[in-house]
């Protein structure tokens, strides 16, 4: 009976991923009949990834780190918060603007990891506008102003 380890699960996922990539690589058309075809190198790499996945599945279980001292619920809630922040940042970055999104992300992460409120609020209200000024004025990066476009320079 094969023991299910994290390495083996990752290996199985890599095998599955390699099949998807190989199918995608097979669909790349060759238009110039010289050199190697555009799909050959990706196909080779996908196959190699699959072989490495098989190696992870089939090899004897390696010395694995014990589960972290962090409770599962805490770990999952941390990852869920990160995922929520990632989606929020992607969706709200242009409509709300960099400064509000940056401040909200800072406060969310700070609260999660136990920052003290006064210090966190001070940093969240000072750092994003300072970065905005630096990038817009010095580096000429058009950071979206969003809600604060009338207020920010």
């Amino acid at each position: 009976m094969m023991v299910v380890t994290r390495d083996r699960m990752i290996g199985a996922a890599l095998c599955l991923g390699s099949v998807v990539l190989m199918l995608s690589a097979l669909q790349i058309r060759r238009v110039i009949p010289i050199g190697i075809a555009p799909g050959t190198f990706p196909l080779l790499l996908s196959g190699l990834l699959g072989l490495l996945g098989v190696a992870l599945v089939l090899r004897r279980p390696q010395v694995e780190p014990i589960a972290p001292a962090v409770p599962v619920a805490r770990a999952l809630s941390g990852l869920a918060l990160y995922a929520a922040l990632a989606v929020f940042t992607y969706v709200a970055f242009r409509p709300l603007g960099f400064v509000p999104v940056g401040a909200i992300c800072m406060i969310a992460v700070g609260v999660r990891i136990g920052a003290r409120w006064p210090a966190l609020l001070a940093v969240a209200f000072l750092v994003p506008p300072a970065i905005h000024l630096l990038f817009v004025r010095v580096f000429s990066v058009p950071l979206p102003g969003g809600l604060l476009s009338g207020v920010l320079p």
Binding site: P42, V63, P65, G78
Partner: protein, 508 residues
């Protein structure tokens, strides 16, 4: 030669590069001294800033930041027994043992001088050795470059941790990532899965910021922030005296550590941390007092400390001559060079000689700056080490967001960064090294391009890959390295047993 050096010097002695050198050093000092923030992270976070700078100040910023961050990592290692960067891990116990004896000044002074000496030694080797190698490499064809790139990637797998299979997985993923987008030869889209944003490929900068910086934020969100240390030992005077004692008492160790560091740094994928471990071991073996090692002995610190910064400079030799980065930091710097339109390779030494020598001079200045700024950092250690992670991590996240947006003014860059932050976290939590991902992403196009060119030249025949003398030697070495990798993997698989061991801090 003299004219080139004079032209290079006049380029460096301008306000912008000098300011960049000092600013990079201060940033590196701050990030390197704080446990949990690494030299690689410091360099990664600076890349978006360099995007808007001329080439020389951009390189000066990266070079001085990396040198100072590696050196500053010794401060928490000595005072708190927490290595500021992985490069300091080899001698953390030795340095802290000196602190427990009330000799923190001796440890810090020795490490500071050794770092500056090693960095200068490596820079001089780089300045003298790289042009010679470049004049030889100018005759290389696609066959030699193909084998060199394969050899570089192979070494990355061989030296990345104890598990070559996992390192190979990450490397292959990195190379696959480099194939995403329109194929340069045929214009055919590859692995874009209908996303228009992926047509231009995956920029290495958001990926790098994600795996090195955003993953640290996730780790803090999952595992909690490290509390600031309440009891910090005082560093009394005597640092200059300690520097003098190191200079007089350990000249052989300084040279030995620098030579080993530079040699290992040149090996792709090895980097300063491996150099420090090996130097420490060699120093102990050759010492007249090996029994004193581990109890607070300056001799081991000198070798390993010099090796650390020498390795950083050594890693630039293959990066500049062949376009093959020696470690993650050099891979990042290589990306900056490419971003500035300076294609690394032997032609860089003729086409842009003054600029290149100006970068070399920046290396020398950055390593000379280590002593005064390092002394300042040691004096400022107490407030620096008390900055809470609970405030730092939210700031790091905002820098990640703005940095990944600024490259293409695209929210898609942020999405890539956030996704690779998660991937980097998962990888590290499961023992997969992250550096091969970046090296694969950067070296992947070189491997594919040279393979394509070589296959056209060879007309489908495999023999021309081994017909030229240099190509034959490189090919044999690359195949030998792969044989070693397979042997190492088989041995590891046979020795494997389901034993639980305490989780180690992930490499940063």
């Amino acid at each position: 030669m003299i004219e080139t050096l004079a032209a290079a010097l006049s380029l460096v002695l301008q306000p912008a590069p000098m300011l960049a050198l000092i600013a990079g050093a201060f940033f590196g000092l701050f990030v390197g001294a704080i446990p949990g923030l690494s030299a690689t992270m410091a360099t990664a976070l600076l890349v978006p800033v360099t995007f808007f700078m001329p080439p020389l100040p951009a390189m000066a910023l990266i070079v001085s930041c990396a040198a100072m961050a590696i050196c500053a990592g010794d401060i928490p290692a000595t005072l708190l027994r927490i290595p500021g960067t992985p490069a300091s891990a080899a001698y953390t116990d030795e340095a802290h043992a000196l602190t427990r004896k009330g000799k923190a000044d001796a440890a810090l002074g020795a490490l500071l001088f050794a770092a500056a000496f090693g960095g200068l030694f490596g820079s001089i080797v780089l300045m003298t050795f790289a042009p010679v190698l470049a004049s030889f490499a100018i005759r290389f064809s696609a066959f030699e470059y193909f084998w060199l790139a394969v050899l570089g990637l192979s070494c990355v797998v061989l030296v990345s941790g104890n598990d070559p299979v996992k390192a190979a997985v990450v490397l292959v993923l990195g190379i696959i990532l480099s194939t995403v987008g329109l194929d340069t030869m045929s214009g055919q889209p590859r692995f874009t899965f209908g996303f228009v944003e992926l047509m231009g490929g995956v920029s290495f900068i958001p990926v790098m910021i994600g795996v090195f910086a955003a993953s640290a934020v996730i780790r803090a969100m999952v595992q909690g922030a490290r509390p600031p240390d309440a009891a910090l030992p005082e560093v009394r005077g005597g640092l200059l005296r300690s520097i003098g004692a190191t200079m007089r008492g350990h000249p052989a160790g300084l040279v030995r550590g620098s030579v080993i560091g530079t040699a290992i740094g040149i090996l792709p994928g090895a980097g300063g941390d491996l150099a420090a471990w090996i130097s420490y071991a060699v120093s102990r073996r050759l010492s007249r007092t090996p029994e004193a090692y581990g109890t607070g002995h300056v001799e081991g610190l000198v070798d390993a400390g010099a090796s650390n910064n020498a390795g950083l400079s050594g890693a630039w030799v293959p990066a500049l001559v062949f376009g093959i980065p020696g470690d993650a930091i050099t891979a990042i710097a290589l990306g900056v060079l490419l971003m500035k339109g300076l294609n690394p390779g032997p032609t860089l030494f003729t086409a842009n000689a003054p600029l290149l020598y100006a970068v070399f001079i920046c290396f020398l200045i950055a390593n000379l700056l280590l002593i005064p700024l390092g002394l300042l950092a040691i004096r400022m250690a107490r407030p620096l080490l008390r900055v809470p992670q609970t405030i730092l991590m939210p700031v790091v996240l905002v820098f990640c967001i703005v940095g990944s947006f600024a490259i293409n003014n695209s929210v898609f860059g942020i999405a890539i960064m956030l996704l690779f932050g998660f991937i980097g976290y998962v990888m590290e939590e499961n023992g997969f090294p992250v550096a091969p991902l970046i090296l694969g992403l950067i070296l992947g196009p070189l491997v594919e391009r040279t393979l394509s060119q070589a296959s056209i030249m060879a007309r489908g025949n495999i023999m021309p890959f081994f017909e030229r003398p240099v190509s034959l030697v490189l090919g044999i070495i690359a195949i030998t390295v792969w044989a070693l990798i397979i042997l190492k993997a088989v041995r590891a698989a046979r020795a494997g047993r389901p034993v639980a061991v305490p989780r180690k801090e992930p490499a940063k």
